[in-house]
Symmetry: C2
Subunit: 276 residues, 2 copies
């Protein structure tokens, strides 16, 4: 696996790639969720470019940019093992040199769910992803369903700005006990990790009620609320039943609707979701 | 010359182009300034794509979107004669379908000169140009020095978002009497056209003073003011001596500095500039 630290190295490596290119943008601290994206890319593209960059513009000043886990050596070993052709792992100044000022505002969808809880977050996401699209020139780009609001924002950006590529979304990967994999799970103490299981449990309960005929958003959300309330230390950020493309609330659940949760466990913010 | 009205037609025609592609984005109502861009593109690229689209997002509600000249048939004949391979002339809904919401904000440079006079203008320009870049996938894109602030904004966007293409800027083309060519010159009455000549006259006077050793911004701007004042009907919007990249004011002129004017003649807003 070639490792490019600079834009010049990335561009020159990209130019040697014939056939289709799949891009897997990550912030590192890789887990099986990321690796499932790499495997999907390997399966459907001739070449795979992964990127590791903890993007400062998607973190608010009060968020965890500085303590975000950085495990580059282990990440490289995993990507190499999966057969990634090229890893782009730039320094901050390479992506945001002095004097850069351009931002991509995706519009109202970027202000919903996590965009409401984390103002400006999706402007940072959209901007870095557009930059990586221009740098890697992929035919397909792979993202996880875990970040459901991010998926909606990026779909809107790709459509609106006429990016000539396909967004591929891969299912959430869970630990055997149901916890959705996340780089931020490393922050959890053993006790917090146990408490965090209530998120997937709540979603499973609501999805099961939906399969048994419950379609009222209010009832499904109440149900999730009730399950989450069994863990007193878990502080809810949002519980939402929304259209997965617009992220606008639905009154009645239908196939394809998105049930999504964000909650704090200790100082760690976790998200999880389920498509009905 | 092939004419594509839809994105699908453009993309499929683009895929057949081997070698380098030059893009000349225009709003139509073509004049020799536009044709100089086409000729430069022909000279340095294997294929030339021109676009004609009167971009609504760069016009404020009080501006001239509806009356902006539309001369598609004559434009096509001119582009055909110049050897353009492909013209993309989409309808408004093709570029801005219902539900689109994404905008590119280039930052402070977009709020200077014409960006100050026309709030939001360069957000519209940056957004449509990024879309055309994604659709035409050019190696080089050609713009006129006449729109000096636009050039600064697009350079910043290309740099910040890592577009993999080269911006080529071609000199202002003038009528024999000195008037900078503009699609908006069609709005001018014979008397207004005569008055409008004072813009290039003022710039020439200041540039000549600079060549004779005058470097103080204040003096050069006063000089331009004095010349413009000889035409009572011409209302100044701005006179500026700026850095051509940042569009920030310079106190002292130096080689490469940009002298720029915007003024209203009757109801028509005209711009002109000179690089020192």
């Amino acid at each position: 696996m070639q490792i490019a630290k600079s834009i010049a190295e990335l561009r020159s490596a990209r130019r040697t790639m014939l056939g289709t290119v799949g891009l897997v943008p990550t912030m590192g601290a890789l887990h099986q969720g990321h690796l499932s994206l790499v495997r999907a890319a390997k399966k459907s593209c001739d070449h795979v470019i992964a990127t590791i960059f903890v993007n400062p513009t998607q973190f608010a000043p009060n968020e965890d940019l500085d303590k975000y886990p950085r495990t580059l050596e282990a990440d490289c070993a995993q990507l190499e093992r999966e057969g990634v052709d090229l890893l782009f792992a730039p320094a901050r100044e390479e992506m945001y040199p002095a004097g850069e000022t351009t931002r991509i505002l995706v519009g109202p969808v970027a202000d919903r769910l996590d965009g409401a809880s984390r103002p400006g977050h999706f402007t940072g996401v959209a901007t870095i992803v557009a930059k990586l699209f221009h740098l890697a020139a992929p035919h397909k780009a792979f993202f996880g369903q875990k970040d459901a609001a991010q998926v909606a924002v990026l779909r809107q950006m790709v459509r609106d700005l006429n990016f000539d590529l396909e967004l591929i979304v891969e299912p959430i990967v869970r630990d055997p006990d149901g916890l959705a994999m996340s780089s931020r799970n490393r922050y959890l103490s053993a006790e917090e990790r146990r408490q965090a299981l209530v998120l997937s449990r709540a979603l499973t309960t609501a999805a099961s009620a939906y399969r048994y005929g419950e379609t009222h958003a209010e009832h499904l959300i109440n149900l999730i609320n009730t399950v989450l309330a069994t863990e007193k230390e878990v502080r809810i950020d949002y519980i939402a039943l929304v259209d997965p493309d617009t992220l606008l609330p639905l009154a009645i659940a239908a196939p394809g609707a998105l049930l999504a949760i964000a909650a704090h466990v200790g100082t760690t913010r976790l998200i999880d979701n389920q498509l009905l």
